[in-house]
Symmetry: C2
Subunit: 192 residues, 2 copies
Amino acid sequence: MTTYSSLPVPPMSIRFDPAGGTLQPEGPTLTRRMSDLEGLFRDHAAWEQAVADGDPVVYSVVSSRVPEVERELPQSITTIQPGSTAGELWMTKGHQHPNHQGEIYLGISGHGGLLMFNGTETEWVDMTPGTIGYMPPGWAHRSINVGDEPYSFLAVYPGGAGHDYGWVLEHGMGRRVLAGETGVEFVDYSAD
Amino acid sequence: MTTYSSLPVPPMSIRFDPAGGTLQPEGPTLTRRMSDLEGLFRDHAAWEQAVADGDPVVYSVVSSRVPEVERELPQSITTIQPGSTAGELWMTKGHQHPNHQGEIYLGISGHGGLLMFNGTETEWVDMTPGTIGYMPPGWAHRSINVGDEPYSFLAVYPGGAGHDYGWVLEHGMGRRVLAGETGVEFVDYSAD
């Protein structure tokens, strides 16, 4: 007999509002402030200062009620605020799926980027509304707001894939993404 | 060492055009004519007549290049033409995932419905642009065009879930969906 770590969900209708960045009915919401991003920015002192200066919300993730369990296919909308810390553009923590499975992001508003790293190579997908960024199994991924307004995307991912945030702290993401004079600039993690 | 039935795909950017109903770069496209839908309409003689009368395209499915293999997360856009055969609204064949896994459909144009059946219960999700229909693992699903123009939706599904079309021929979908005087009407398969 099949056992479930949480109850399976019934068929459901979920209202996706790209303009509002919402999914209804709403499931869990997660808010990441600057203090949640320890160890991720190159300039640790600038990060500490940003935490001291009001600890701003960097991004939030609203989810539908489809749970993160094996065989389900949950969805969420992430909204990253515009900003930079010592020139490094605001970003998500980034993660690897311990159970390697593919994932998609669909850009819905603003201008962002999807940075992927498989431990050796890095890839970058420029994300605007209507772009689907495909993350194959085995590629860690991080999202970055490269514009002047909030950047939002819809994520669809297998519920049993999991999230390993420690992988990024240990291995990095190959490149850092900076606000350059004429656009986005990339620097190697090895330059830290 | 991992072996692949087809080569894994690299990270990629896929352009999703809801207005055109396209994914670029494009992968395989599948076209279902009336003659491909044998055994699905209640009125067999009317189905035969429709095949004889030009065998119209009932629906098409365009896919991205993400392959239908274990651990990948492919996407496709299905467009169902408006129409009915002996009152039964045009529909997809419907299928069950032999490897039970969840799937989502996102309505992008026109007006449709998502019929789900788990062998005992049926569920219906009215699909308009911005509706996400969630199909939990174990629920067979069929899409129906209930409007006067083409109905299109984006599907996202685990590549290893598979498609069992025979399940629907054997078990039905619980209900049939007809064009009624004042909207959609449902009748039990048991009334056949």
